[in-house]
């Protein structure tokens, strides 16, 4: 009995040793990245949870920095958010914003990728130039577009007037302002999806198309039955990221509506950003961030499950 125990202990420590020997390299290589993520992502994540249950705001902020004391107020931040009618409106707007954007990015991205797969003259030039929207810093893009949406001098209205259509006061109403934001963001996001789709198309075995050709499949049939299904696994991670990024896209709406439509067409993140850094409602903003994360997390898990089943 005793001997057995001893043996199992020995084999236990041996197992640990061989475990370490086997995986030492992996863990050591991961360590630097892990430490950084621990400090910058995990720690703030839990810190944010603490703040979410507190009433931290601009009045008790200074004291908090000095002494680190927080007054906890339970779930009242959360109940305050959920009972506001504006929360549900903003949530609905964020969902519409995300769905339209991602569908447009995907559709255009794949269309461009499909066209660029054809044997065309100047193909590399087209491909390079079409990536430009991605290359321009976003905050500059948004400010440029803001100028282009100007009622009197903006390029968009000038162009409309050329065609005899009266100009639209883009940035003075919520509806048109939201359309303007959609146009800007769709314009911004197409190149990324296009590049991902191009990479995916290259990985499709040309033999599939040859076989389909022999069977007499039309162009459209080939796209529908070969290209799109094979593109799906490649696009899935890009769609997940695309949705998350669009849902959390702070810059476009924040900068486009600054000084004009301030908080008229807010999505969830811009609302949080304003609450935190313009109204200094830190506790409230922290609770709001937690809610946004939960929404995205649930969505992502369902989506990954759905992809896995197919």
């Amino acid at each position: 009995m005793n001997k057995e125990n001893d043996e199992s202990f020995k084999s236990g420590s041996l197992a640990l040793k061989s475990f370490w020997r086997q995986y030492k390299f992996s863990y050591l290589m991961l360590l630097p990245a892990f430490i950084v993520v621990l400090f910058v992502v995990i720690y703030p994540f839990f810190y944010n949870f603490r703040l979410a249950f507190s009433n931290l705001n601009m009045y008790n902020m200074r004291q908090f920095i000095k002494s680190g004391k927080l007054t906890y107020i339970g779930l009242s931040n959360f109940s305050e958010i959920i009972t506001q009618s504006s929360f549900w409106i903003i949530l609905l707007r964020t969902i519409i914003w995300t769905v339209i954007n991602v569908i447009a990015h995907l559709t255009f991205g794949i269309i461009y990728a499909l066209i660029l797969e054809h044997d065309l003259m100047f193909k590399p030039i087209y491909r390079t130039l079409l990536v430009i929207p991605w290359a321009i810093p976003q905050y500059i893009v948004v400010l440029i577009w803001k100028g282009m949406f100007n009622f009197r001098y903006g390029a968009v209205n000038l162009l409309l007037r050329r065609f005899g259509i009266p100009g639209v006061a883009w940035l003075s109403q919520a509806g048109t302002g939201f359309s303007a934001a959609l146009i800007v963001n769709i314009w911004l996001g197409i190149p990324f999806m296009m590049m991902i789709a191009l990479g995916g198309l290259q990985s499709i075995d040309p033999n599939f198309y040859e076989a389909a050709e022999i069977d007499g499949a039309s162009n459209w049939q080939q796209i529908k039955h070969i290209t799109l299904p094979l593109l799906k696994p490649v696009m899935a991670p890009a769609v997940i990221l695309g949705v998350v990024w669009t849902f959390n896209n702070l810059r476009v709406i924040y900068l486009l509506t600054q000084n004009t439509l301030t908080n008229k067409i807010d999505i969830l993140v811009t609302h949080v950003y304003r609450s935190a850094f313009e109204f200094y409602k830190y506790g409230y903003a922290a609770a709001f961030s937690v809610i946004i994360f939960i929404i995205l997390f649930i969505w992502a898990i369902t989506f990954i499950d759905y992809i896995g089943e197919n």
Binding site: V40, H118, D119, M121, Y126, W134, I140, V290, F293
Partner: protein, 291 residues
């Protein structure tokens, strides 16, 4: 697919479609360039032409010699440089083991990196801001006076290199997946240890992915505005995005100066993109997820 021959009509349609798209893609950038050349009295023009009448480089001169532009440029350059170095080295090592090794926690780690992308930036920004404030890293005090690197810049570098990290790790992993494993096996037989095999054999082969990863980190740091706006308070410490938007937000916006600054910020990014565009298709392997 590219071997297929299309009819003439179809080709013309494709070209037409692509040309219109390219114009739409390029117009805003060209528009800014045009605006930067406008003389002050012609700022409100209703012409759609790119190059204005009486074009002048006055705005560029003013910007460089009278504003803090060069200081902002240096700040941005420093922050970006360190972000890229930290980001690429961390992603290259972490991505490698995720691609090659089987170890407990591998799948959890990968999923975790994906989940961090779901945190709204405000969720990390707010605690990070409070933390940085606690550690004094929002202070404008100079850390390395010689370089002009302030404590607040350090805070930015830490935040940027880690926010881009999960994506970079996935990106590197995707590319390593495409490199045959037999290469390391041969190297191990030849007497190299695991790290040497990684460092001497695989890393040089992963150049396209390293370039793309560097590009991602570069873009994160060079273009970031929302965090920098919160952390920076002193005009001399601004990074370019903050300086520029302040220029645009002033009561009497000097549009030609704003445009000139935009052009000078855009040009390096666009140049890098154009130079690297041949890496973009092969190196962007985010989609290459194998288990």
């Amino acid at each position: 697919m590219s071997v297929k021959k299309d009819s003439k009509l179809k080709k013309v349609c494709f070209h037409l479609f692509l040309i219109i798209s390219v114009i739409i893609a390029l117009y805003p950038a060209l528009r800014v360039f045009g605006t930067s050349l406008r003389p002050d009295n012609a700022l409100h023009s209703t012409s759609l032409a790119i190059i204005p009448k009486h074009a002048t480089f006055a705005a560029y001169k003013e910007l460089i010699f009278e504003k803090n532009f060069l200081i902002w440029l240096r700040n941005s350059f420093l922050v970006t440089l360190f972000t890229v170095i930290v980001g690429v080295s961390l992603a290259a090592t972490a991505g490698y083991v995720f691609s090659r090794k089987k170890f407990p926690g591998r799948k959890a780690g990968l999923t975790f990196f994906l989940i961090t992308q779901m945190f709204p930036s405000t969720m990390l920004l707010l605690p990070m801001y409070l933390l940085l404030a606690k550690f004094g890293l929002t202070e404008q005090q100079q850390l390395i006076p010689f370089l002009g690197l302030a404590k607040a810049h350090l805070g930015l570098i830490i935040m940027y290199s880690s926010t881009a990290l999960p994506l970079c790790v996935w990106q590197m992993k995707g590319y390593y997946d495409t490199i045959p494993e037999s290469l390391e096996e041969a190297a191990l037989v030849d007497g190299l240890n695991q790290f040497q095999a990684f460092y001497k054999i695989i890393l040089p082969l992963a150049k396209p992915a390293l370039v793309i990863t560097a590009l991602f980190s570069f873009m994160t740091a060079w273009n970031e505005y929302m965090v920098a706006r919160v952390v920076m308070t002193d005009n001399n410490l601004y990074t370019l995005p903050v300086g520029l938007t302040n220029l645009a937000g002033q009561f009497n916006t000097a549009w030609s100066q704003f445009a000139a600054a935009s052009v000078m910020i855009m040009l390096p990014v666009m140049a890098i993109f154009l130079i690297l565009s041949r890496y973009l298709v092969g190196g962007l392997t985010l989609g290459g997820v194998k288990g």
